[in-house]
């Protein structure tokens, strides 16, 4: 589903590359934790999958597509197959829960009838039924993150990328968030989650890929966060 072959990414303003000859493969339906300290290259990894950045060297395949050969005007179609969840939510403050989720479908031109059917379904999946009319500032952090997950998943992407989704949320609420991610994963969606949260990684016992200074230092199925942190 995601394959990196000797991918290096350096930014023009930095001397050290953000990723150094990274090779990794994520299969369909996998749940992968991407761990490592800040600046280890986790975010760069996710941005490369979305083709928000181009690698300096190496090849990336996502959902069967060679990103190096993907023309700019086809990038939106790639992104429709990938859902993204952020630490800082990025909800539209002037739209309510329903509208925020529906927005993701409206802007890719889905018919209204389809939107009316699938948005309540996905809101139920993330545990927000009955809160459709709430505005984002009326929700707790955990609830806002559920809206973000609903928005990321509403178009049934093949891949869900989560960049520290529990970063702004207390541990008790985080468990609920992880349950939703697990539920999404069980529908067959590949989930890649970048995180600092050792407790969560340890409790889930999923595959763990650890990055340090842009290199993969550990790739372990059913792993834990590691002793060093």
């Amino acid at each position: 589903m995601i394959r990196f072959d000797n991918v290096t990414k350096s930014y023009p303003t930095q001397t050290r590359p953000a990723l150094k000859t990274v090779s990794v493969s994520v299969e369909k339906g996998e749940f992968v934790f991407l761990v490592g300290p800040s600046g280890s290259g986790k975010s760069t990894f996710l941005r490369l999958v979305l083709k928000e950045e181009r690698p300096s060297a190496g090849q990336i395949h996502v959902a069967g597509k060679d990103l190096g050969r993907l023309t700019t005007w086809k990038v939106p179609h790639l992104r429709r197959r990938i859902g993204v969840v952020f630490q800082d939510f990025r909800l539209l403050p002037n739209k309510n829960v329903y509208e925020n989720v529906a927005f993701a479908l409206e802007v890719i031109g889905k018919p209204r009838r389809f939107i009316r059917r699938v948005v309540p379904e996905v809101l139920e999946l993330v545990g927000l039924e009955g809160k459709e009319r709430r505005m984002p500032d009326e929700l707790s952090g955990g609830e806002q993150q559920r809206v973000v997950m609903a928005r990321a998943f509403v178009n049934r992407p093949m891949i869900l990328l989560a960049d520290e989704p529990t970063g702004n949320i207390d541990p008790a609420t985080s468990i609920g968030i992880m349950k939703v991610l697990d539920r999404i994963n069980r529908t067959g969606t590949t989930v890649v989650m970048a995180t600092h949260d050792a407790a969560i990684v340890d409790s889930m016992r999923k595959r763990v890929v650890e990055l340090e200074d842009g290199k993969i230092v550990r790739d372990q199925s059913r792993g834990v966060y590691g002793q060093a942190y």
């Binding site: 979305l50 700019t72 005007w73 990038v75 939106p76 179609h77 790639l78 992104r79 429709r80 197959r81 990938i82 993204v84 990025r90 539209l92 927005f103 993701a104 409206e106 802007v107 890719i108 031109g109 018919p111 209204r112 928005r151 178009n155």
Partner: protein, 302 residues
């Protein structure tokens, strides 16, 4: 494509930047109105040209015994031979359609009827005072100079009056006016383009959350940019509409009033006004859409 979604986005965008939107609309309106006025002057000049060039003649006045000019005094009155030669030469020219000879008697009669209201003038003028002349109708009015210079200065010819020359001066003035209007309009259009660019940049900044999410969920570039493009185009269209209203006002208050006082002159009709209005609206939409498009390429990375 969900029309309602796009329309509501445009409306939100225009309302959020209300002052900038008004500035854009007014600048576009002024520039397009000036541009339209320039075009109207142009069609007015063309209408007048068509009208007058058709009627205007080159008049070749001949020397008579009472002519006072030095040339006629030296050479004496035109002989029949000279007259015949001049007439033949004129008729041979390709630019000439027809040559009329107006005798002194006929000229006097015409003079009397033209000035019948000023009896004093008629009373002091005797039949011999008005020279006989050739009135030359041109088939190619633009080439009046060739005709005039062919006969000017010949023995027997007193003077050549081409009405075209005095018309040209009038048209030169009108053309100057037209150039001034279009020149100012172009400056204004530059201002309008920059203003539209800035407005769109502001709108893109205001909506960076929305566009960021649109990008991530895979909205096409077209879909992301369309509301901005249409926002510019709608502002341009409203500006064009105001400019069109101004132009209609010019036609009603200016042209139509002049028309009632100068009936003998050809004036532009509604069809040229409508043509110019159509041009204005198209220009308004194109200018703003183009300005938005160029700005978006720079500020809305997809």
């Amino acid at each position: 494509m969900r029309a309602q979604f796009v329309l509501s986005e445009i409306w939100i965008g225009l309302r959020r930047n209300l002052t900038m939107t008004i500035a854009v609309i007014l600048t576009t309106a002024v520039s397009l109105a000036l541009f339209g006025t320039g075009l109207l002057i142009r069609s007015q000049v063309n209408a007048m040209k068509d009208y007058w060039f058709d009627k205007v003649e080159v008049t070749v006045f001949l020397c008579t015994s009472s002519s006072s000019s030095a040339r006629c005094k030296d050479n004496g009155p035109a002989t029949d031979d000279q007259k015949g030669q001049i007439q033949r030469d004129l008729q041979a020219m390709p630019q000439v359609r027809r040559v009329y000879y107006e005798s002194q008697e006929a000229a006097y009669q015409r003079f009397k009827s033209q000035f019948r209201n000023s009896t004093a003038l008629v009373q002091v003028t005797r039949p011999g005072d008005i020279p006989d002349s050739f009135r030359v109708k041109l088939s190619r009015p633009q080439e009046y100079r060739v005709v005039a210079s062919a006969v000017a200065g010949r023995p027997g010819v007193d003077s050549v009056l081409d009405e075209q020359a005095s018309l040209e001066r009038f048209f030169t003035m009108l053309n100057g006016l037209r150039n001034a209007a279009i020149g100012v309009a172009l400056l204004q259009i530059v201002a309008a383009i920059l203003l539209i660019g800035n407005t769109i940049r502001l709108a893109a900044y205001n909506r960076r959350r929305e566009t960021g999410i649109m990008r991530l969920v895979g909205a096409s570039n077209f879909y992301i940019q369309l509301p901005f493009l249409l926002e510019g185009a709608v502002a341009g269209l409203i500006g064009g509409g105001i400019a069109s209203t101004l132009l209609v006002a010019v036609k009603l208050l200016f042209v139509d009033r002049l028309r009632s006082s100068f009936l003998t002159v050809a004036w532009i009709g509604w069809e040229s006004v409508i043509q110019v209005i159509a041009l204005q609206l198209i220009a308004g939409v194109l200018i703003s859409a183009l300005a938005s498009f160029v700005t978006l390429r720079r500020y809305l990375r997809v």
